[in-house]
């Protein structure tokens, strides 16, 4: 299978690999996928006010899954939570030129963003 240049770039130079303290109240964590399916994404956001000031990811998965999550962290940094929630998997597909068999990687990335935001919001609700 031939990979697009953008997938290769994210695979070779992934942006924002790493982990944040998941117990911090400013951090939202999303873990989606399952090892049996060959994809697990962990995406974390650090939020100040309503803004995502930092994002990190770790992914077990194919090159397209790594690229999708790397791109997702790049895109959500600096966005408000509401803006980040609007990101659709189809935009990731388009940006990375993912073939049909790899669309699930982009879906997973969208789910990871939403899951991290939901985790952060839940923490805030529990606080108040």
């Amino acid at each position: 299978m031939a990979y697009s240049d953008k997938v290769l770039d994210h695979y070779n130079n992934p942006r924002n690999v790493g982990s944040m303290n998941k117990d911090s109240k400013d951090v939202g964590t999303g873990v989606v996928g399952a090892p049996e399916c060959g994809d697990v994404m962990k995406l974390q956001i650090e939020v100040e006010g309503d803004k995502i000031v930092d994002a990190k990811f770790k992914t077990f998965g194919c090159g397209s899954a790594i690229a999708s999550s790397s791109l997702a962290t790049e895109w959500i940094k600096g966005k408000s939570l509401d803006e980040a929630e609007q990101i659709r998997n189809t935009e990731i597909v388009e940006e990375l030129s993912l073939p049909p068999v790899k669309i699930h990687c982009s879906v997973l990335a969208e789910d990871a963003i939403k899951s991290a935001i939901a985790d952060y919001r839940k923490k805030q609700d529990d606080e108040s």
């Binding site: 299978m1 990979y3 290769l8 695979y11 992934p14 690999v17 982990s19 873990v31 989606v32 996928g33 399952a34 090892p35 049996e36 399916c37 060959g38 994809d39 697990v40 994404m41 962990k42 770790k58 992914t59 077990f60 998965g61 194919c62 090159g63 899954a65 790594i66 068999v101 789910d111 899951s115």
Partner: protein
């Protein structure tokens, strides 16, 4: 050293220059049809084919009269299984095979199931092996055929063919073995090993693509097959079609070289295979060997790198040409059916890589490949949420994953 380094020798092999040299005259100088009985062109072609038949038979302890030429193992498998089923269908309709067989065997068996045959798909053990005891337990009065591969193409596990063959002979059941990965790589003797039908493919043993042979026993018992292709009645009526003389000459030469060099080559391959495994496992933890630690091909090393997905690893080691059991690398999006049948978990199946050591593999190539694998597994594990969880002491089997698949 030329990159990408070829380490996919179970998929196919390059034509050995000595094989190519033997073939060349038969394309345009000596181009006769081996079935032309009336002139020198035909006689020369027939002589060349007869020599090849001798070379092939010699490699596996058969008689030249027991060799039927085919286009390769897929055809050989179809001819063997369907040919036996049709010939002996009145006697019984039961066939025994294994879940770890090549798709050509499994799909042929499924085809027969639609026609009223019953097939038992034995589950191999965790190393991919099927024993004579497993076969004995599945045998029935109406069993006509046992089809079990000599060695597995994905994990290299070698089945106890001699014992299974002895059992089949004792019970009067025909024994077919797919010898594609084994014949020419390990000692194979259809007499001593009690084999009735065996197939091989030239391109797996440094011969050309598109030609193969089927061994069909003539004595004790005499095995008969219903031809699957109608025509001029070539090959004792079992396989019609003008013989591919240059291909057959190449297959013959390839078999001759394998026979001459088998012992030295197997030893060298096993040393390189073990060296590669040692290099990798001394640097990386959580590496799982797929297959049998002893009963395996000398030229096959199948490893799973826990917490790293196979396709992403292939991307990182693109300077090495290998295959993965990961679903992502297959058209079906299913992980390897062989690893599944061995109860290798889907997570490990997704992480598997098959390294093939070939006639032209050098120590330098093995070192280069091992280094690349080590670097990339380390890099991808740094990126892997699973590896991180394991480092934190989390048991992954207790995690509630959010996935619909």
């Amino acid at each position: 050293m030329k990159t990408p380094i070829y380490m996919d020798y179970q998929a196919t092999t390059p034509v050995d220059p000595r094989v190519l040299e033997a073939m060349l005259p038969y394309f345009s100088d000596t181009f006769g049809n081996a079935a032309s009985r009336n002139h020198a062109y035909g006689w020369t072609a027939e002589e060349a084919v007869d020599k090849a038949r001798q070379q092939i038979a010699s490699l596996m302890g058969a008689s030249p009269k027991e060799i039927v030429f085919t286009s390769g193992s897929t055809e050989g498998i179809n001819l063997a299984i369907k040919g036996v089923a049709e010939m002996y269908g009145a006697k019984g309709k039961h066939i025994i095979t294994s879940q770890a067989e090549h798709k050509a065997v499994l799909d042929t068996c499924m085809h027969l199931e639609k026609q009223g045959y019953e097939v038992t798909y034995l589950k191999p053990d965790k190393t991919g092996r099927t024993t004579a005891e497993d076969v004995a337990a599945a045998l029935r009065d109406d069993t006509i055929l046992v089809a079990l591969m000599w060695a597995n193409n994905e994990v290299g596990t070698v089945n106890p063919i001699r014992e299974i063959g002895a059992l089949c002979h004792e019970k009067g059941v025909i024994f077919f073995t797919d010898g594609t990965q084994a014949i020419g790589k390990i000692p194979c003797d259809v007499e001593a090993d009690n084999v009735d039908i065996a197939c091989l493919s030239a391109h797996k043993i440094y011969g050309p693509k598109g030609v193969g042979a089927l061994y069909v026993r003539r004595r004790k018992p005499r095995v008969r097959l219903v031809a699957q292709m109608d025509g001029g009645g070539h090959e004792r009526g079992m396989r019609s079609g003008t013989l591919n003389v240059p291909g057959i000459v190449g297959l013959g030469k390839a078999c001759e070289l394998c026979e001459q060099e088998l012992e030295a080559e197997a030893k060298r391959a096993a040393e390189l295979r073990d060296y590669m495994q040692e290099l990798i496992t001394s640097e990386l933890d959580h590496v799982h060997l797929n297959g049998h630690p002893e009963h395996r091909l000398p030229n096959c090393l199948n490893l799973s790198f826990n917490y790293v997905e196979g396709e992403s690893l292939l991307m990182g080691i693109s300077d090495v040409a290998v295959s993965s059991g990961s679903a992502c690398t297959s058209a079906s999006l299913e992980p390897s059916h062989v690893l599944r049948s061995m109860d290798v978990g889907d997570d490990l199946a997704h992480s598997s890589i098959r390294f093939g050591i070939g006639r032209f593999t050098t120590k330098e190539e093995v070192e280069f490949a091992a280094k690349l694998v080590i670097e990339n597994v380390k890099r991808l594990r740094e990126m892997s949420p699973l590896y991180e969880m394991v480092q934190e002491g989390i048991d992954l089997s207790t995690v509630q994953w959010q996935a619909e698949h």
